[in-house]
């Protein structure tokens, strides 16, 4: 079972993000960068599937700059066998990035391509489905349960009010949602071993952007509202305000 897991280096979700000085970029100064949290589910699933198959390899792949090596090392420390850094800049929208990844993936042998369902920086939620389309493969996004029977895949994806069950054959593209599994922590042994694992670098150039960012803005201001009161006695006044002032009841 050969699996490619596509991951991304992103600012930690607890980090403060602000508008850059030029008003058209994002300032992440002082913020810790981590493996995109959804990608951890993808890495874990890849490792579990390889372990169950008893054979094959897990390749962690990313498109980014030199600093993304650290992200690949984290995947290697969790247990991936090798890393591939596609050196270049991701696109504003998902398609350019998907094109770079699909090109690199198609040059390799694989049974399955795994992603996290979305990167928590640009929140595009585009690349996995686009890579599936570009490679002409079946697959599923926002997957909360995955099972394999030979080459037959059954995936459950989250939809409003329930789950959809999709069945298709490998090779396929899967995007992991929280709940798919419980990602393992890298052990000290794993971290040491990761330093010796192969990490390939390929210059792929910057991905094409079909969108341009005109402006980066702070979210619509929310001024602190009013404390209606203390304890249950304040409830009737709250209900009156919701009904008469806010007109939401």
């Amino acid at each position: 079972m050969n699996i490619i897991v596509c991951i991304k280096r992103v600012p930690d979700s607890e980090g403060r993000i602000s508008v850059g000085g030029d008003g058209a970029s994002v300032d992440t100064q002082g913020v810790k960068f981590v493996v995109n949290p959804y990608d951890e589910f993808a890495i874990e699933e890849a490792l579990k599937l390889k372990e169950a198959a008893g054979t094959g390899s897990v390749t962690a792949m990313t498109l980014g700059g030199e600093e993304s090596k650290e992200t690949l090392r984290t995947a290697l420390a969790m247990g991936a066998d090798q890393g591939v850094l596609l050196k270049g800049k991701p696109s504003v929208d998902g398609l350019g990035t998907a094109e770079k990844l699909a090109e690199a993936i198609s040059a390799r042998e694989y049974d399955l391509v795994l992603f996290g369902k979305q990167a928590i920086d640009d929140d595009n939620l585009q690349v996995p489905a686009m890579v599936a389309e570009l490679l002409g493969l079946p697959g599923a996004t926002v997957v909360v349960s995955l099972s394999l029977d030979g080459r037959k895949v059954t995936a459950e994806r989250e939809v409003e009010g329930g789950h959809e069950v999709l069945e298709f054959d490998l090779p396929a593209v899967i995007a992991a949602q929280k709940g798919l599994n419980e990602p393992r922590y890298a052990s000290l042994k794993g971290i040491m071993a990761a330093k010796k694992k192969p990490l390939e670098e390929v210059d792929v150039g910057d991905a094409e952007s079909r969108l341009e960012v005109l402006q980066v803005m702070n979210p619509p201001e929310r001024s602190a509202g009013e404390i209606v009161g203390e304890g249950a006695d304040a409830v009737p006044e709250l209900v009156r305000k919701l009904r008469e002032e806010a007109k939401v009841l």
Partner: protein
């Protein structure tokens, strides 16, 4: 020339996502001074729904009715929507960022080699170019983006464009491309036995969300009672802490690593207001916070707050809402 809106159905009935996409599409079509085409894919019975799309502003409906369209099959739907884009010569495609739309829009964009702006809270035209405003970093910042190529594919966040009537007599035509069973690679069905009676947290009109302040999962009955009192358009939400603790399913999680919601009314109960939670709900129109800690950051974002013991405040609130509802 046209704008194309994707009209989503489930079980042979239009979803709210369909009328919201048509409403947003109508606005964009007016701004571009072109007509609005809606594409509706579904089982053979779906044709009865086509006329309704005219009520929200579609000039024309391209209808694909087939048993193969009964469920959302990614490859069949993507191909049909791309065919509709070509047939209507559309400059822009509007899809609701529902669960289905979030899977469909990138596939359509990839096939068209087009840019996609996901989860937009605002779409429009500036200097002749289609633009979108969309949250990034879990809503910590908003990006205004412009398309550099045509067609523009736009995912519109549920509830960002509330359904608005703009009635006209839509011409209903059959989509000329038919689904091909031979290229079907994916079998799709709904998972059995889990029909939830409440709407999804991302689509609800009212969200009652709970956090660690509830102390244990059994106490969620308090929030369920409140949600029941508020009515059938009310969903339950949860903070990351309680989802990580296993008290609530992750499909209820609101925040940067959960769902981003913008309901007209949001109750944050026993939620302190961590930055990653605020990112997921700060675009709600009205936020009510109930927390015993007057210093909790949630009060800085809420429109109305009650400082107090939620175990006393929530039952009283349920009671008052019931009273209000029974008075009609």
């Amino acid at each position: 020339m046209s704008v194309l809106a994707f009209a989503e159905q489930r079980g042979g009935a239009l979803r709210q996502a369909a009328v919201e996409a048509v409403t947003a599409g109508r606005m964009l079509a007016d701004a571009l001074d072109v007509e609005l085409t809606a594409v509706l894919l579904g089982p053979p019975t779906i044709s009865g729904e086509a006329g309704k799309l005219g009520r929200y502003g579609a000039d024309r409906v391209l209808l694909g009715s087939s048993d193969l369209f009964a469920e959302y099959v990614p490859e069949e739907y993507s191909e049909a929507v791309v065919a509709a884009v070509r047939e209507s010569e559309s400059k822009a495609v509007v899809v609701s960022a529902s669960a289905l739309g979030k899977d469909l829009a990138p596939r359509v964009a990839a096939r068209l080699k087009a840019g996609l702006a996901s989860d937009a809270t605002e779409i429009g035209v500036e200097d002749g170019r289609v633009i979108a405003v969309r949250p990034a970093y879990g809503g910590k910042v908003f990006l205004k983006v412009a398309f550099k190529s045509e067609p523009a594919v736009l995912g519109v966040r549920p509830r960002a464009y509330m359904a608005e009537e703009a009635p006209r007599d839509a011409r209903v035509e059959e989509l000329s491309t038919k689904p091909d069973p031979a290229q079907l690679r994916t079998k799709v069905r709904m998972a059995a036995g889990e029909k939830k009676e409440r709407p999804d947290v991302a689509e609800a009109e009212i969200v009652v969300a709970g956090g660690r302040g509830l102390q244990e999962s059994e106490h969620w009955t308090l929030l369920e009672d409140l949600a029941d009192a508020l009515g059938p358009a009310t969903a339950l939400g949860a903070s990351r802490a309680v989802v990580d603790a296993g008290w609530r399913p992750h499909d209820e999680q609101v925040g940067q690593t959960g769902k981003v919601v913008s309901p007209p009314l949001y109750f944050a109960v026993g939620i302190s207001g961590a930055i990653q939670h605020l990112a997921g709900m700060r675009t709600a129109k009205c936020i009510v916070a109930i927390n015993k800690d007057p210093e909790a950051p949630i009060f800085k974002t809420a429109d109305y707050g009650i400082v107090g013991d939620l175990f006393e405040v929530v039952p009283r609130l349920t009671e008052e809402i019931q009273k209000l509802r029974s008075e009609g």
